[in-house]
Amino acid sequence: MAIYHLKTPISEGEIRKLKVNDVIYITGTIVTARDQAHRRAIEYFKQGKPLPINLEGLAVFHCGPVVSKEGEKWVALAAGPTTSTRMDIFEDEFIKNFKVRVVIGKGGMGKRTTDAMAKYGAIYGAFTGGAAILAAKAIKNVKGVEWLDLGTPEALWIFEVEDFGPLTVAIDSHGNNLFMDVAKTVEENRKRIYEKLGLQP
């Protein structure tokens, strides 16, 4: 397990060095996107419309933050990750089209995303679910917000962050997926549990 501090824009070379179980901290720009924002971004791409922000080399964060407007300025009060599996249906195209290098969320993602990460050079960084203040304290500035019509949880929030983490590399760009590894272990353990409880498979 190695620890890396990365600055955006992150290059493909930097991403390829990372292995599952490594821990990374990101400094630079991260952008939130949940279901609705993913859907809209992909529609924009299909229509040839540019996104309000160029995501190349940046990190996309599965998060619906609690925000508050103080005067003209937005402040992120709580910003933990949401469950990433909901974005599995969008993420391969999202990585391919917009060249994001890091996807941040919780709960992991499936084979489709793992394959896209290997192909295009991206990783999945698991941020501790619910650790919203830890995340918010690493957000130094809310640089902007787009698509607020989707509601505050679903909008694109553009955050300037400093040492945002710890993010556990749970999917690397070599086809490894820590969640799938854990699933295999769980499969083995299930047999032991059934034996212990005297259950029929």
Binding site: A78, T83, G108, A126, G129, A131, I133, V186, N189
Partner: protein, 294 residues
């Protein structure tokens, strides 16, 4: 003070206590899990959780950005006057809390997909009513996170298979939920009643402190057995592997129809938020879960 305003103020305070400060029993269980976890990645997750809890208290900010669907449990003394004013007071408290704490607006019309923006809407906040003897009013709020809600399930099991089928149902629920409900989780398990009754009592079981096993020794034994089994899965903190998958298992039951064996598993994430207060007939208020704050 008239009861409506008093209930509104108390409910507002409860919402604030609940979303910022985790109950002591939950914090203790997380500290113990951190001390005992052997997986390096699992330990990193638990450390982040403990750091986050400390920061939330320091900055008086919600411990998780998903401040949940707002659910109230009201135990109303039969002699309390103006009970018809309480629902409106709870709705007002929810609106105020959403604006002032603030809470994330989490109430969406399923037909139009529009977010009401203030955590209220048809049936939301949801109020569970119970009429009890006496003249005091006990209010509990459970801000219930969406990630752990998404893996809650009910099942209609085969009665002839006995208690083992329930154990299997629970273990399979934990395995299938995997990382999704933000483990380490707390499980509310119920058997009997009907499909709706099972889930209702399973969810209510999440309100029981972690250091309180079911008073029925047979049920308490089942709780321990399910707790140990769930922690054998290896899912671990945040599903990244480790030996802490659940912090506790609370089992409740209701009598069942001879032909039915309803079962329910309600998950709560590690940010297991709840707060309770009692309002007495003379207007005094006792905060029960967050005593040190008042």
């Amino acid at each position: 003070m008239e009861i409506a305003k008093l209930v509104e103020d108390v409910a507002f305070n409860l919402l604030k206590q609940a979303v910022i400060y985790l109950p002591e029993d939950v914090k203790e269980a997380l500290k113990k899990a951190y001390a005992e976890e052997t997986s390096e990645t699992g330990k990193t997750q638990l450390k982040a959780i403990l750091d986050n809890i400390e920061l939330a208290e320091k900055y008086m900010a919600p411990v998780c950005q998903d401040t949940g669907t707002i659910i109230f449990y009201v135990q109303a003394g039969a002699k309390v006057k103006n009970l018809d004013k309480i629902e409106e007071a709870l709705v007002k408290a929810t609106r105020r809390a959403t604006k002032e704490i603030p809470l994330r607006p989490n109430a969406v019309d399923p037909l139009t997909q529009k977010n009401s923006g203030d955590n209220t809407g048809r049936f939301i906040p949801y109020i569970n009513w119970e009429i009890v003897p006496g003249d005091s009013l006990e209010l509990t709020v459970m801000p219930k996170g969406g990630g752990s809600e998404n893996v809650c399930l009910t099942g209609m099991l085969v009665p002839g298979e006995g208690i083992n089928i329930l154990k299997k149902f629970v273990i399979e629920a934990v395995i299938n939920a995997g990382a999704q409900p933000c483990p380490p989780t707390i499980l509310g398990v119920a058997m009997g009643g009907g499909a709706d009754i099972a889930m209702k009592i399973a969810k209510k079981a999440l309100l029981r402190p972690l250091d309180q096993p079911n008073p029925n020794p047979e049920i308490a034994k089942l709780e321990r057995e399910l707790y140990e089994a769930a922690n054998m899965t290896g899912i671990g903190p945040m599903g990244l592997g480790g030996k802490t998958t659940v912090l506790g298992v609370h089992v409740e039951y209701a009598f069942r129809h001879p032909a039915s064996f309803p079962a329910a598993v309600a998950f709560n994430c590690w940010a297991a938020r709840r707060a309770t207060a009692r309002i007495y007939s003379d207007g005094t208020v006792e905060y029960l879960t967050h005593k040190s704050l008042v």
